[in-house]
Amino acid sequence: MYLYLYDASLKERQYERVISNLETQMTDLGITGKIVRLSSLLSPKQIISEELRRSKDLKTVVIVGDDTAFTKIIQQVADLPVTFGWVPVGPKTDLAERFGLPYGAACAQILSRRRIMELDVASCNQFYFFDFCHIPLAGVTMQLDGSMTIRGDAEKMECFIWNVPPTNRSQMPPGYTPSPYDRQLEIVLMPVARKTIFSSKMAPPSIFPFRDAKIILDKPMAVNVDGNVLKERQLNIQLLPKPLRLIVHRQGDTKAI
């Protein structure tokens, strides 16, 4: 059984046609299910947990919305024992494209094929993240996997954790490609080598693979976790022991099958 979660922004008139086409496709392919239209008052976690309790047949939860909607919902429900599907509809669907998921009704075909990939998901304090985590320039001390401590010589460092390769690859160190399938995360540290009035010149980066990191910043900073900003001084980042099962298109499949 399928449960469809429609993002609140899809109530706008411009998406009416896309949604009706999608629903027609779903009926044609026999993948219809219960539809829940999300609002600010409804918690996706509560909805899925309740449906799981009501019906043992619920195996797939399909999120209908753009990148922001998907990552926002995943931040709350990544640990639930269901397979996720995603129909990208909305203004920004870059992340979906990276998994080969086409816009709108065309995605119904992919859902019906059910090519499931297991993807890494991490938690950052109380939230789960799927795409990236960015810590702005700060004095950073970190402990990785409980065994090593890392400090920078430079006053400040900028830190990135990418799970999925970003669209703008120029941000990444050359030769480095993150993978959402490798059951580990990597932290990329970019220390400031020289600071001028207008800009900061970055020193060569460091890359450390890890599964569990404790990061302490010199002061509370605005940390960007999948587009949501948290103001934190201490971050506990962990790879979830269970991967996220997501229905993807073959093109987006990074494992040779």
Binding site: E97, D145, S147, T149, I150, P173, A203
Partner: protein
């Protein structure tokens, strides 16, 4: 219109990126302005440009670049040193010391390459073909096996048999 075109191009580029991405071999890089303390364990290739103290273990290749400083015992499959190492180095296959290398400690490997100009203060031990990878000759074996440090090439031994 241009916007639509560019987004289409982007989507194509992105799907190509994902196709080309394989589960990568982890490259750990300790940059020049980073200090690492503790037990450093890796399963991939490691490049050190900064400072490391404690222990370093990797299943693959370790490169210590010029300017890097390691105060740790090192274990790897193969090691190339261009910087400074204070500690013992043990490699399953090769240790290479380049002209700028400075090693204070014992080294142990199957193959050892020392370039002119490299500094080594310590003992060298070569791992024989029939020795355990930890370098210790097994005691209590047959006389012929336990006696010599020299290992006969396998082909010769098989021919005799």
């Amino acid at each position: 219109m241009a916007l639509f075109d560019s987004s289409h191009e982007n989507s194509h580029q992105n799907s190509v990126i994902m196709q080309n991405t394989t589960p990568h071999e982890v490259e750990t890089i300790v940059g020049p302005s980073v200090k690492v303390e503790g037990d450093f364990n890796s399963q991939g290739n490691v490049l050190i440009q900064g400072t490391v103290s404690g222990t370093i273990k990797t299943d693959k290749y370790l490169q210590v670049e010029e300017g890097a400083k390691i105060m740790a015992s090192v274990r790897a499959d193969s090691v190339k040193v261009s910087g400074e190492v204070q500690g013992n180095i043990r490699a399953k296959s090769t240790i290479e010391l380049t002209p700028t290398a400075r090693v204070i400690g014992d080294i142990e490997a199957k193959t050892l390459i020392i370039a002119p100009g490299a500094i080594l203060h310590g003992k060298c031990a070569m791992l024989g073909t029939n020795e355990a990878p930890d370098g210790k000759a097994k005691a209590g074996k047959r006389r012929g096996e336990a006696e010599g440090d020299y290992a006969f090439p396998k082909s010769l031994v098989e021919d005799e048999a």
